[in-house]
Structure formats: structure tokens, C-alpha cells
């Protein structure tokens, strides 16, 4: 009951902006039952989970060291017109949450004339430490436009970073978007650092991460290393991350990444691509056979006219890996949806290696990639490498190596390229064209 009232009060204050810091007194009581806050001007709400407090609007308190750190981007709304900057401060007590920005590349701080007052909330995973998350939601942006921005508080700003909103493909039919794709960095943050740098040299518009960023989802220092060593990439490119089994549905995962929908199963458009992201290790495993495939089916039905359709989740439906192999439960439950909507790509991790399938439909190899879905496992972003069994009938290329990939998407072409930590290309790329 105490939690209920505190949550209700926190939410009410958040919406109304009551109190000197917008969220109650100081020190603020921490109530970990989650909550929802409407984000002004964006047309969506931010919901936090059990283990986190209800989100509140920015306060006015500066802690002993309000220096922003672990700056990274995401989005909850339309990526053409919105972005979410997320960060923590060196102290965990600063409540001021601001972002300033302006259209243009590498602008001076004085030129950042637009200001967003952000939201914040704390979460607690294990022990007594509270982690204070700050988010600034910039909406009503221009599509395909580069912005410079800083986050923080007066006199305590982050460096100036840039981001580019997703393009408007109606106005720009020659648009190309580049999607970086990798997964399974857990434990190997030296490799993740190398690969993040390699991905960044390809100037991606968006990063797709197929899960298992950390070994144990509740271990905050691992998340900090994941976000910290890749900050140059993640502060300039929005990240869309799928939930992997090692994230273990921890509050840390749901608190640190602004994602569309319920953060687990959601679809979004980016350029000419439509991507559906699914959680294949949900708290309730029965969702795997009914709720998730239904949501996936509904999403792809609603986006039937999308030029390129992709699914990203963690456990691969097709894998020759010796550790886990093919997730036949997902093959049975999700495969028919993939086949029905004739997806172009399914992106996975879980097996720590690289594998690309031949085009598959109805569990059979097809003659050309126009007739089937290519399943990729790129689970080598740092976790210990696994080996292979004899390659399955579906397998086109296997290599036990740390790797990442980029997917270049144009209206009529989709190109897939994978590369190792040293930037050398894997001999496993392809271009698919559509009339």
C-alpha cells in the first residue's frame, strides 16, 4: 500500500512538476514499484519497471559532481522526428536533467539554442546502491537532419555530440541507411570496444544489438563498461537492443535503454527497413508460443508494404553452433510468421560466432535470396567464442570469430557485410535486390 501511494504521488508530482525538484522532497524516498510519465510534446509515455521508481521531471539539485557520463542515444517515438539522450552523472544525486541542441554538425556549445527539460528516475538492482538515470526526449525534429547536442546541467555539460534523425524516404527515394548489427559482448569488453570503433568508421545510422550485452543483467558495473567503452559510438548513434537470456529481464536493462513500445516486443521503421525486435527469453515462457508470434504477425501485417522486413531476437532459429544449436522451439512458433511475411533477414546472437544461412523458407533451402529469408548469427561481440558442429543444411558460411556487420538499406537494394575486429571483411556478404 505504501508503495502504491508513493508511486501515485511520484507520478502526480512528475506530471504536475510539483515540489522544488519536481519529484518530492530531498532526500527523495525511493519506491521501486515503477510508474508512468507522459512525455510532453512527444505523444508517448515513459514507463519504468519494478525495481525502478516512477519517472519524474527534472529537478533543480546539483550534486557534488554532476558531470554527465555514459551518454547514449535511443528512441521511443518516430526516429525521423525524435531522439532520446540518456546518461548518468558522476554523482548519483544530481536531479537537473537538461539537453540543449541545434541543427548542424559539430556546433559550438553557444550555438545549441534549443533546450529540453528531461526526466529522471532511479533504479536499484542488487544491494542498496541507487542508480540515477537521466533522459531527455527531443521531439518534433526534422527528418534526415544532423543535430549537435549536449546533456547535463548548467556549467556541467557533456562534450558536444552529433546525431542524425532517420530520413524521410518519401522525400528522398535515394536514401541509404546503414544499420550496424552485432551481439553478445558479455565479458569481452576489449573486443566490444574494438568492434564498436570498427562499426563507427562505417558511419551507421542505427545500431542493432541482438542481446547479451552483459553476463548478468543485474550487474551494474558490466553495463557501465558496455556503455562506457562504446560511448563515442553510442552517444552519436541510437541503439536498439534486443533482450538476451543473460539480461535476465533485469531492471538495469529496462531502465537504461529507451526503446519503442514495451521495450521487449516492438516494431519500427528506419529508412526503407521495417524491423521487429522480440524478447525470446521472456519472464513467462508461454508468451513464446502465443503472444509474441501474434504481436509479430500483427506488426508485419500492419507493415506489409515495407520494402525490407527484418526480425531481430537473441536465440537463433538456425545455428550450426556446438553450444546451443538451433532453437527449434522458436522455429516452430515463430518460423511460420517469418515465412508468411517473407522476411528478408533474421538477426540473432546467442552462439558466439558468425554464421550466415542460405535463403530459407518452410524449413527448406531456396534457390535465391529473393525466395527466402537469410538468418544471421553474429554473436561475437566479445563473449568467449564457441565452435561449430557439422554445418546444418541451411548453412552458407561459418566462422568462429569476433565480428560485427553492417546492413546497407536502399529502396531497391539491401547489402549485408560482416567484418572482424581488425576490420577485415568476412567472405560472407550479399546484396539482395527488389524491383
Amino acid at each position: 500500500m505504501r508503495a502504491f501511494w508513493a508511486t501515485a504521488l511520484g507520478l502526480g508530482c512528475g506530471l504536475a512538476g510539483c515540489g522544488s525538484d519536481g519529484g518530492g522532497g530531498d532526500p527523495e524516498e525511493f519506491v521501486d514499484s515503477g510508474g508512468t510519465l507522459a512525455i510532453e510534446g512527444c505523444g508517448y509515455s515513459l514507463t519504468t519497471r519494478l525495481g525502478a521508481e516512477a519517472p519524474k521531471r527534472s529537478g533543480d539539485k546539483l550534486g557534488p559532481d554532476p558531470t554527465p557520463r555514459l551518454v547514449h542515444l535511443g528512441f521511443m517515438g518516430d526516429p525521423r522526428t525524435s531522439i532520446v539522450a540518456q546518461w548518468r552523472t558522476a554523482d548519483e544525486t544530481t536531479t537537473v536533467t537538461k539537453m540543449r541542441y541545434a541543427a548542424g554538425e559539430n556546433l559550438a556549445p553557444e550555438a545549441l539554442t534549443e533546450t529540453v527539460i528531461g526526466v529522471r528516475f532511479r533504479y536499484n538492482s542488487t544491494g542498496t546502491d541507487l542508480f540515477h538515470m537521466h533522459q531527455a526526449h527531443a521531439c518534433n525534429l526534422q527528418p534526415g537532419t544532423t543535430y549537435s547536442y549536449q546533456v547535463g546541467a548548467d556549467d556541467h555539460w557533456s562534450p558536444v555530440y552529433t546525431f542524425t534523425t532517420a530520413p524521410d524516404v518519401e522525400a528522398n527515394p535515394d536514401t541509404e541507411v546503414v544499420l550496424g548489427y552485432l551481439g553478445d559482448s558479455r565479458g569481452g569488453y576489449d573486443v566490444w570496444m574494438q568492434l564498436a570503433a570498427q562499426v563507427q568508421t562505417r558511419t551507421p545510422d542505427l545500431i542493432l544489438f541482438s542481446g547479451d550485452a552483459v553476463t548478468i543483467g543485474l550487474t551494474q558495473y558490466e553495463w557501465e563498461e558496455f556503455l562506457g567503452v562504446a560511448e563515442p559510438l553510442l552517444a552519436t548513434t541510437p541503439l536498439v537492443i534486443a533482450h538476451g537470456n543473460h539480461e535476465a529481464n533485469a531492471v538495469n536493462f529496462y531502465s537504461q535503454f529507451a526503446l519503442p513500445g514495451d521495450q521487449e516486443n516492438f516494431g519500427f521503421d528506419y529508412g526503407f527497413a521495417h524491423v521487429f525486435v522480440a524478447n525470446d527469453s521472456p519472464d513467462n515462457p508461454s508468451e513464446l508460443t502465443v503472444d509474441i508470434p501474434m504481436a509479430m504477425d500483427a506488426d508485419f501485417t500492419a507493415h506489409a508494404s515495407a520494402r525490407w522486413k527484418m526480425l531481430m531476437h537473441h536465440r537463433p532459429m538456425y545455428s550450426s553452433g556446438s553450444r546451443h544449436g538451433s532453437a527449434t522451439d522458436l522455429q516452430a512458433a515463430w518460423g511460420p510468421v517469418v515465412d508468411k511475411h517473407q522476411l528478408d533477414l533474421v538477426l540473432n546472437g546467442h552462439e558466439h560466432q558468425f554464421e550466415m544461412s542460405k535463403p530459407i523458407r518452410n524449413n527448406e533451402v531456396q534457390a535465391t535470396n529473393a525466395d527466402g529469408t537469410v538468418y544471421i548469427v553474429a554473436g561475437g561481440a566479445g563473449a568467449p567464442l564457441y565452435g561449430f558442429d557439422t554445418p546444418g543444411f541451411w548453412s552458407e558460411y561459418t566462422e568462429s570469430t569476433h565480428s560485427a556487420a553492417v546492413i546497407r538499406v536502399r529502396r531497391d537494394q539491401l547489402t549485408f557485410e560482416a567484418f572482424r575486429t581488425d576490420g577485415t571483411m568476412l567472405p560472407a556478404g550479399f546484396t539482395k535486390t527488389k524491383p
Binding site: 535515394d174 565479458g187 558495473y221 536465440r315 556446438s322 577485415t424 571483411m425
Partner: protein, 378 residues
């Protein structure tokens, strides 16, 4: 036909031509040409489209695709020229930004003036050749020669890491470690230094040089974050624990084998008679043989690593039951306490043997993961 009619006809013809010209959509034509060239991987056609004037919406895209295909084919000089054209046209800010990034990456591989271009091309070619199965020695020899000849090559540290990984896969851990030591001396960026140092610790642990790994990890801890350090620390601690467990298991097996040998000698009366008893398969072994055969046959239909482990366990089990049967052969009914001791020692021997079997090839990691997280749903 009158002059007036001819003039009218001329005007109509001119109007038709003008209308056609006006109706022609250079962007649509360029798009069609672009799609056709990309479908054929035709770099020359893309370059021609990019260079055509007037500039269309697709001119910079054509150069960008020409650059991408040139990188793919290893023609880095051609890629650089194409990327410079994307920047020169400059109509699509994101494409220009990407071209600048690609140029910087290529320069990072090949040097500012392209002085490392041939080395970079050879590096890519040889790594692509490096077989995942089969004997990699010939390719590795060429890669080693490349790395030794060009220590200043910007990607030398990562090339050496790749060489080390290949030697480790080929079963030559010492050689792998030597290359990682070499990589340490040429790594200059923080990212490279961190990666090389972490790879060295991992390789030392896998090769069993745990004391050296401990020292290297202590040094790495000064620069690396806690996530990486803790992950390496766990790997090292696990390796130490397993090494101890392995020694203990071998010790147990040695003691039980000695006890079994003396028991057999005492039961048989002499060493020669003991050997004669061992030459005949006892009933217990005959009983286990078909069961073991079925287990092995099932195991061989699945994971090769698991199959090897099952073969080892069945082999250990067969040997234990054989020796146990030989000891008990023809003996008078034994006291319950002695039977219990005999059975307990057999169970302990089997458990020790099972541990040694699952420790091989790190199958124990599978067992632990299954224990902690349940079996794969797939």
C-alpha cells in the same frame, strides 16, 4: 502539301520533341541505371553514372556504391577516388559523412598516402584464405612473413592477434602466446593495447600457464575496467579450480587403481594369474558393453564434443567394471562391509573419471550452464 501545312507540321514535331524532353525524368533514368549497375556489381557503370553531367540525385549514390564495391574487391585506391567524388558532389550530408568515415578507415588501413595499400590487400586476402578446418600452416607462414616484414603497418597488432588465434586453434599455444607478446610491442592505441593484453591473459589461461596469466592480469587490471577484469578473473579462478579438481581426480584414480591391482593380485594369487583373469571379460563388462554401445551410438548422432565425452565415460565405466569383475571373480560371498567398500570405490572411480571426461573440451561448461539455466528450449 502547302508551305503553311509544312510549317504547321514542323511546329507540331518541334512541340512533340520539346514535350518529350520536358517529360524525361533524369532522376528516374539515373535510378534505373543505378539499379542495373548495382545488380551487376558493375563498378565501371557506376563510375560512369556518377561522372555523367548534369548531376542527378543518384550521382553521389553511384560513386558511393562504386566505392563500396571497390572496397569489397580489394581495390582500395579506386575506392578512395570514388569516395572523394561523393564528398565533392556533397548533396547528401549523410552520404558525405559516411564517405569521410570510409576514407578515414581506408587511410587507417593503408596509411595517409596509401603506402600500406599492398600490405592491407594481402592481409585481407590471406585472412580470407585461412581455413577454419584443415591445416592452416601454409597460410599462417605467409601471414607471419607479412607481419614480420611490416611491423609499422597500422593494423599489425590486430594481424598478430589473428595469427595467434589461428596458431592456438592449430594446437600451438606457445606459438600463439609468442605472437601476442610480439603484438604487445607494436600496439600503440589504448584499444589495441587493451585487446592484446586481454587476449594474452585468455590464451595463457586456456594453455594452462595460470601463474603467468595471474601476473598479466594484475598488470591489465591497472588499465582495464572492472567488467573485463572480473570476467578474466573468473576465467582464471575457474581454470585454477578445475586444475585442482583434475589433479585430485587423477590422484583418486591412481590410488584406486593401485588398490584394485593389489586386490586382484591377492584374489588371483599371483600377478600372472591376475593378468589371466583380466584377459577374460567378466560378466559385468559383458553386461555393460551393449548398453555402452547404445549410449555411444546415440551420442554420435548429436554434438561431436558430447559424443567424445560419452565415449570417454563409457570407456572408463567399462574398464572399472572389468577390473571390478576380475577382482570378484570366483570369490566366496563377501561381507556386506567389504561389498559396500568395493562398490563405493567403484563409484568414486567412476565419478573421478566422469569429471576428467567432462573437463576435456570444456564440456563441463555445458553441464554448468544447463544446471543453472535449464536445458535449451530448442
Amino acid at each position: 502539301m502547302t508551305r503553311a501545312a509544312l510549317a504547321a507540321l514542323g511546329v507540331v514535331a518541334a512541340l512533340v520533341v520539346c514535350t518529350r524532353i520536358a517529360a524525361a525524368d533524369p532522376d528516374a533514368d539515373a535510378q534505373a541505371a543505378f539499379n542495373a549497375a548495382v545488380a551487376r556489381d558493375d563498378i565501371a557503370a557506376l563510375e560512369e553514372l556518377g561522372a555523367a553531367r548534369p548531376i542527378t540525385r543518384w550521382s553521389d549514390d553511384a560513386w558511393a556504391e562504386a566505392a563500396r564495391l571497390s572496397i569489397k574487391t580489394g581495390d582500395l585506391a579506386r575506392a578512395r577516388r570514388a569516395l572523394e567524388q561523393v564528398i565533392a558532389i556533397g548533396t547528401d550530408a549523410q552520404l558525405v559523412r559516411r564517405a569521410r568515415g570510409d576514407l578515414a578507415r581506408i587511410k587507417g588501413f593503408t596509411g595517409d598516402a596509401g603506402e600500406w595499400t599492398q600490405v592491407a590487400i594481402e592481409h585481407e586476402r590471406l585472412l580470407a584464405q585461412l581455413p577454419q578446418g584443415g591445416d592452416p600452416r601454409a597460410t599462417l607462414a605467409q601471414l607471419e612473413q607479412l607481419a614480420r616484414a611490416h611491423p609499422g603497418y597500422p593494423r599489425a597488432p590486430m594481424l598478430m592477434v589473428a595469427i595467434a588465434a589461428a596458431w592456438e586453434r592449430a594446437g600451438e599455444g606457445d606459438r600463439a602466446i609468442a605472437w601476442l607478446r610480439e603484438a604487445e610491442t607494436v600496439a600503440t592505441t589504448r584499444a589495441d593495447q587493451l585487446h592484446v593484453a586481454a587476449e594474452l591473459v585468455r590464451t595463457l589461461i586456456r594453455s594452462g600457464a595460470l601463474a603467468t596469466a595471474e601476473n598479466e592480469l594484475a598488470q591489465l587490471s591497472r588499465d582495464a575496467g572492472p567488467g573485463l577484469v572480473n570476467s578474466l578473473r573468473k576465467m582464471l579462478d575457474r581454470a585454477k579450480l578445475r586444475r585442482t579438481a583434475r589433479y585430485v581426480c587423477w590422484g583418486i584414480l591412481a590410488v584406486i587403481a593401485a588398490l584394485a591391482a593389489f586386490s586382484l593380485r591377492r584374489a588371483a594369487g599371483s600377478w600372472r594369474a591376475a593378468l589371466r583373469r583380466l584377459a577374460r571379460p567378466p560378466f559385468e563388462a559383458l553386461f555393460l558393453l551393449p548398453l555402452g554401445g547404445v549410449l555411444i551410438a546415440f551420442a554420435l548422432t548429436g554434438n561431436a564434443l558430447i559424443a567424445r565425452t560419452v565415449i570417454l565415460i563409457v570407456g572408463f565405466g567399462l574398464a572399472t567394471s572389468w577390473i571390478s569383475g576380475a577382482i570378484l571373480e570366483g570369490s566366496a560371498p563377501v561381507r556386506l562391509s567389504r561389498a559396500a567398500l568395493h562398490a563405493s570405490l567403484a563409484v568414486v572411480a567412476i565419478l573421478a573419471a566422469v569429471y576428467i571426461a567432462v573437463d576435456q573440451g570444456h564440456v563441463i561448461d555445458f553441464v554448468i550452464e544447463t544446471w543453472r539455466r535449464g536445458h535449451e528450449r530448442g
